[in-house]
Subunit: 491 residues, 2 copies
Amino acid sequence: MSKEIVSRAADYSQWYNDLVIKGGLADYSAVRGCMVIKPYGFSLWEHMRDQLDRMFKETGHQNAYFPIFIPKSFLSREADHVEGFAKECAVVTHYRLKTDPAGGGLIVDPDARLEEELIVRPTSETIIWNTYKTWIQSYRDLPVLINQWANVVRWEMRTRLFLRTSEFLWQEGHTAHATSKEAMEETLRMLEIYAGFVEEFMAIPVIRGVKTPSERFAGAVETYCIETLMQDGKALQAGTSHFLGQNFAKAFDVKFLTRENALEYVWATSWGVSTRLVGALVMAHGDDDGLVIPPRIAPIQVVIVPVYRGEDQKTPIDQEVGQIILKLKAAGIRVKYDDSDHNRPGWKFAEYEMKGVPVRLTLGSRDLSSRVVEVVRRDTREKMSWPLEGLAAALEQLLGQIQENLFSKARTFLTDHITPADDMETLTAILDGKGGFVSAHWDGNPQTEEKIKELTKATIRCIPLEAGGGEGKCVLTGRPSARRVLFARAY
Amino acid sequence: MSKEIVSRAADYSQWYNDLVIKGGLADYSAVRGCMVIKPYGFSLWEHMRDQLDRMFKETGHQNAYFPIFIPKSFLSREADHVEGFAKECAVVTHYRLKTDPAGGGLIVDPDARLEEELIVRPTSETIIWNTYKTWIQSYRDLPVLINQWANVVRWEMRTRLFLRTSEFLWQEGHTAHATSKEAMEETLRMLEIYAGFVEEFMAIPVIRGVKTPSERFAGAVETYCIETLMQDGKALQAGTSHFLGQNFAKAFDVKFLTRENALEYVWATSWGVSTRLVGALVMAHGDDDGLVIPPRIAPIQVVIVPVYRGEDQKTPIDQEVGQIILKLKAAGIRVKYDDSDHNRPGWKFAEYEMKGVPVRLTLGSRDLSSRVVEVVRRDTREKMSWPLEGLAAALEQLLGQIQENLFSKARTFLTDHITPADDMETLTAILDGKGGFVSAHWDGNPQTEEKIKELTKATIRCIPLEAGGGEGKCVLTGRPSARRVLFARAY
């Protein structure tokens, strides 16, 4: 057991921070609310990003890049949108600094005030739809299927590494369609891509659902989401896909000529996931010894640690490892050989456990003469002695097993933490006790939703897309309800 | 000849804009000085970025991400640095908007003023070295070899798509070393990587050199650069690699414990290339019919256009093209089949010429029955009829030839445009005539450099790393000079 990490039981929140910082994922920065993503964390993000990018491209999307600045007036064009973002944005008012003539150092040059203030993008619907106006004239120009990888800024008052930072990295898809039906299909297609990615690559099971009106994206007609569950029983929204209807087309006057020669407003979607997913990964799989990273997105899938005394022992190990690495790389396995002499093997074992590397190989002189290697799984801690012969194929299989095991463990946890409740007492008891999602009837009234939130700190995470379990009575008001929804306390 | 593009001879500057906009690379945006990078342009940038990223990683660098905001006080820490960047930066002063109680719409909330203004990063030395302070304690922590792909903002008054925009995309490497020698080696290693990339992938020959003190990066001890030549005879700086000495280590107090247990300041480098390279590509290879993109970085290397009347003719062509695409993809060729029925073949020919696709294949019914295909090179316009048999291998070879031909043409142009001058009259006549680089003696005095700039609008692009042609007399002052340097008018 590593001594540097607080246990989940002792202080879940501190445990999370310990994993992020001591696992080498990120660090606080000198700028309030902004983080530094360290090389190991960024490499993890790169693996996630590259996989998502492949999935977007396979479904016909192209990347593009739009300005980081949004003219203030653009925000106001869509009434709900401005409501959602105006209160937490970084505002650029000047374009020059100068030396204070009064000797006060560097000051903002009052002569360099912008005529119109610029907002550092919190999301890009407005600037993008203003651009689409010039790109879209006819049904022939549709659909437009564009994605952007970018940084965005939302001025958060209470921040947490990865989960809620003032600046974060994300992708935002912005598509334009000729019909409502096509736009809705796209909305659900992207939801499905997110669900597939999070389940198959991040090994985190998701619940697909739709948000209640009060939890919708500012400017959307419907917001679809994937919700995940963390080990402390709190929910985390992992991705959203919005059906925007014609809201932004109307706000920016984007019309197109249909096949029938009529002029109509364009239909839109937008969808995004962010570096927040890294936080979800930490909290879904980590344990009291550190990170546990699913093999399919792990920057290092296999680490090799040599055990030796003196160069005489090390040379033959180096040679054998050279061969192993060639074979592992040929099998597409991401492998690292840590033969640094600054640190002892025991220190390295703890270090790579902390970093969540799925498999560790240890090779010593005795192993070498028996042609075996010690293999340790990060997920189960199982320690095995395997023949060097056929190692690459065996490791490929093991990595697959670890991936499956992580998902299956997380799925069991999720299934065990969806609990029905038919009255407020039960609902509250579950939230205060085992946590997780509570499946309960709701009368569809936003005030009921608000009241339950006040009473329990839980929100409706989503109305699941799968069957809602039939009719019943609202958990708070007793009024009729068509189906159950999922409540939870959330990140 | 495409009618939509102004010719280079008629208006070089307009020709450039036509290529960028009509070639589908980028567009102006609603935000002054910022551009929208369109899907085709972004795909080109992705191919450039991915190749550079591989080269960085192969030389031991890792990516990371640092905040977009720089506290105002950080800029002031390094005297030259603040001098270089304070006059052209976007300043965030507030973090909230609100509805004007006086009915003036959305206004900056005066109660949400930041205690310290934040600068949108023009470059990240300051925020990164402030972070390195916490990462580096001992020689064991060195070297730190980090790169960041990011957007940066420099408030430019006169902007041009790709060449000079207020926001641009780039990479910035920031490395930390134990010795001056190592840092200098890194500086030159990265210069060599840039040179290799620009020559081998972008097919643009470069001159490697070092900047004069007046052209150095703000905060550098030495700035190395690669200079390229555009078709109008103006030079373009394509990349820079800076030896920063201990300047930023001193400004942010970053010391390390040496092997000998002494405390010393860390040595630094930084290096970057940007989306400006896309502009260089356009101007180096484009012609009066549009873009000409070197195969190794072309988003589409081969486009296939079918020629048919009616579905009866189209179906067998589609089937054949399906087979061709499989073979080309297996050979690693990026291929697009444009069978859209909105546009005629002639329109498509012009379109892909405009987009600079290296090779076009045209397949009609008659070709199909003779088992041949029409092959047209974008660079030479050569039109050939090739057998379908063995097409993939032949195209692979052709793409290699096109890559070589573009480079060789550009190299001849460069060689022909480095002209010696031994007096001001000749120097001026060359600049006003054929243009390009003028190789002339300079006495090493910044005032001489400034005076020549006033007289000719040419700057010293660099002191080439290769031999300087022996001693001589300064072209302006007649004072002794150790070697020749390169003058040019530049972008």
